[in-house]
């Protein structure tokens, strides 16, 4: 999430309704405090920020339908890291943002809280002529070196392909990255890894699995001139999921999902473009 933020955010003007009284009753969740208390190791001196926690929980409810619940905590290390501290999330117009929440704790211990009403909504990508992608973003208070910013959201999403992604590597070091996937009873999944060694998941429920990674190094952009793009270097994982009754129909084509086959089949069909 933070990586995406760093790439695409044109920050909204700070919500003028956000006054000190908004912070009067700050309720920082335990998971934020725990992450904020993480003792940091050594990072390269040019590291602008570090991601203390990046946790995504997917609950699949039907083909292509799932709820994404995300928690992330970022610590700003250098002044240049300020611009990465503002929470934002993208979603399609057809998807439903169920909750948004953000908190920040500055280096002197002041605590702040942002709620749904503190976020503004706008088109996600300013440079597109038209797009169905929207973005909700806010400006977190107290962004300075040493500040910890946490962000949580829940979105009911829809994808055309039964596939979930886990981009656990970022331009910043990641202390802990967690992915959980919960499928309807009887459904199965298959994971696939871009590079590196696959991590075995832990089964944490009747049909729920969790992958956990610690201390993932960052890939600083423009660290070297003319280096390959971020995604060409980043480690990531993909989970394809499917109902048991369709077993055998899936991955029959070089691992591609059934939806993908359908999509390619109709690409040039005049009726179903």
């Amino acid at each position: 999430m933070w990586r995406a933020l760093s790439k695409c955010l044109l920050l909204a003007t700070f919500c003028s309704g956000l006054t000190n009284s908004s912070y009067a009753r700050v309720n920082i969740p335990d998971w934020v405090r725990e992450a904020a208390a993480t003792k940091l190791g050594q990072f390269p001196p040019e590291t602008n920020a570090v991601i203390l926690l990046d946790q995504t929980d997917y609950t699949v409810t039907a083909p292509g339908e799932f709820v994404e619940h995300s928690r992330s905590v970022l610590k700003i290390l250098r002044p240049d890291g300020r611009r990465y501290g503002n929470p934002a999330v993208s979603f399609r117009k057809s998807e439903k943002v169920q909750s948004l929440h953000a908190w920040s704790i500055d280096s002197t211990g002041n605590e702040y809280e942002l709620k749904d009403k503190d976020f503004i909504e706008k088109g996600a990508w300013g440079y597109f002529l038209y797009s169905d992608f929207m973005q909700r973003s806010a400006q977190a208070p107290g962004l300075d070196p040493g500040t910890v910013v946490a962000f949580a959201f829940e979105i009911k999403r829809h994808e055309w392909i039964n596939e979930l992604g886990w981009l656990f590597q970022s331009e910043f070091p990641v202390v802990q990255s967690v992915l959980s996937v919960e499928l309807p009873a009887g459904w199965e999944y298959r994971d696939s890894w871009s590079v590196g060694s696959p991590v075995k998941p832990t089964q944490t429920g009747p049909n729920r699995w969790e992958w956990r990674l610690r201390n993932v190094p960052g890939i600083a952009e423009e660290r070297e001139p003319m280096m390959p793009p971020f995604f060409a270097l980043a480690e990531r994982m993909s989970v394809a999921y499917f109902a048991l009754r369709h077993q055998g129909a899936h991955f029959r084509l070089l691992g591609a999902s059934r939806q993908l086959v359908r999509r390619l089949g109709r690409l040039t069909n005049c009726e179903q473009l």
Partner: protein
């Protein structure tokens, strides 16, 4: 803007996204009886395709493939100003999922070649006694280079396009250059090279006593060293291969003659060629030609030192000066 739900909609709305337009093109080709299909590929500006990584999130854009005389021709009419036979560099030279008769299979888009991205520059200049150069410069952009320029130009108006070209030339000429575009480049014809001509005037040669010192390879005067680091962690990634061909014709000031010129040279490695030639076209005219071809796209870290050596050599040759002096006839009469 209305959503396109089929090829008919693209025709009716007279608009569509990149993929909409390429799908529409394939539909038209099929309707005309030409076998056509599509390939779904990543955008190389942000990703690569990793076959064992079974994720469609790698895939970004759809490119048209038509079969002509039994051969696949990859086309990208959805990319604005993309000439026939070329696809936008972002979708070239990469694997993806290709439609076949039954469903799909892995496929590849063709690698771009240096011949598909050519910049030719020609300067015809006269030098005065103070070292200032006056004359004309022509720039010729072909293939991907022309496409990029036309797309940039498409974002602004005629005045903005003029400024864009003039600023682009100013960036490569010595400081304080007067640059004025003459004529109107053809911004609309994607199949033709983009040609721009300029009237120029700029301080060029350095006066040193009775001598003038000048860098004959005018178009590299402001070019900085490409690679300074001695070590490299990541591959060097050129977006696409390219070719540069530069010619500079200089008439020396009356009463001066050429004392020395940089030596000719040719440097060739597996993935690149560099060649420079200098000669006297006439007693008062010098000529230089520089050719550069980069045919590689990714140079691995273990080849970095070798590649850096190549670029360092190119830079050293580009910087070799020519020396003009007051002619012996003039000198003896003083």
């Amino acid at each position: 803007l209305r959503e396109n739900k089929g090829s008919d909609d693209v025709l009716e709305h007279r608009s569509g996204s990149h993929d909409d337009l390429n799908r529409f093109f394939v539909s038209m080709a099929r309707a005309a009886g030409i076998p056509a299909s599509m390939i779904w590929v990543p955008d190389r500006s942000r990703d690569i395709f990793i076959k064992p990584f079974l994720s469609t999130r790698q895939l970004d854009a759809e490119i048209a493939i038509v079969q002509l005389d039994g051969k696949d021709v990859f086309l990208d009419p959805g990319s604005k100003f993309c000439p026939y036979g070329i696809v936008d560099w972002r979708y070239s030279g990469i694997s993806g999922l290709r439609q076949n008769a039954k469903a799909a299979e892995f496929g590849d888009t063709p690698f771009p070649t240096y011949k598909q991205s050519v910049v030719t520059r020609m300067a015809v200049l006269s030098l005065d006694q103070n070292g200032a150069a006056h004359g004309t410069i022509g720039l010729f952009f072909k293939g991907l280079e022309a496409m990029q320029k036309r797309r940039e130009g498409g974002k602004t108006d005629a005045e903005g396009r003029k400024k864009m070209l003039e600023d682009g030339l100013r960036e490569i000429l010595p400081g304080n250059s007067d640059v004025s575009l003459t004529g109107q480049p053809d911004w609309d014809n994607a199949e033709a090279p983009l040609v721009a001509q300029f009237k120029v005037s700029f301080p060029f040669a350095v006066v040193s006593g009775k001598r003038l010192l000048l860098q004959q390879h005018l178009f590299q005067v402001s070019e900085r060293k490409h690679f300074s680091a001695t070590q490299r962690i990541n591959p060097v990634y050129f977006h696409y291969p390219w070719q540069e061909a530069d010619e500079v014709h200089i008439t020396v000031p009356a009463g001066m003659e050429v004392e020395s010129m940089a030596p000719d040279d040719k440097v060739q490695v597996d993935y690149a060629i560099y060649q420079v030639k200098q000669n006297r076209e006439a007693p008062d005219k010098v000529f230089s030609r520089r050719d550069f071809i980069m045919s590689g796209m990714a140079i691995m870290p273990d080849q970095y030192a070798h590649m850096k050596g190549f670029f360092d050599k190119v830079k050293a040759d580009d910087d070799q000066p020519a020396l003009l002096k007051v002619g012996s006839n003039v000198a003896s009469t003083k």
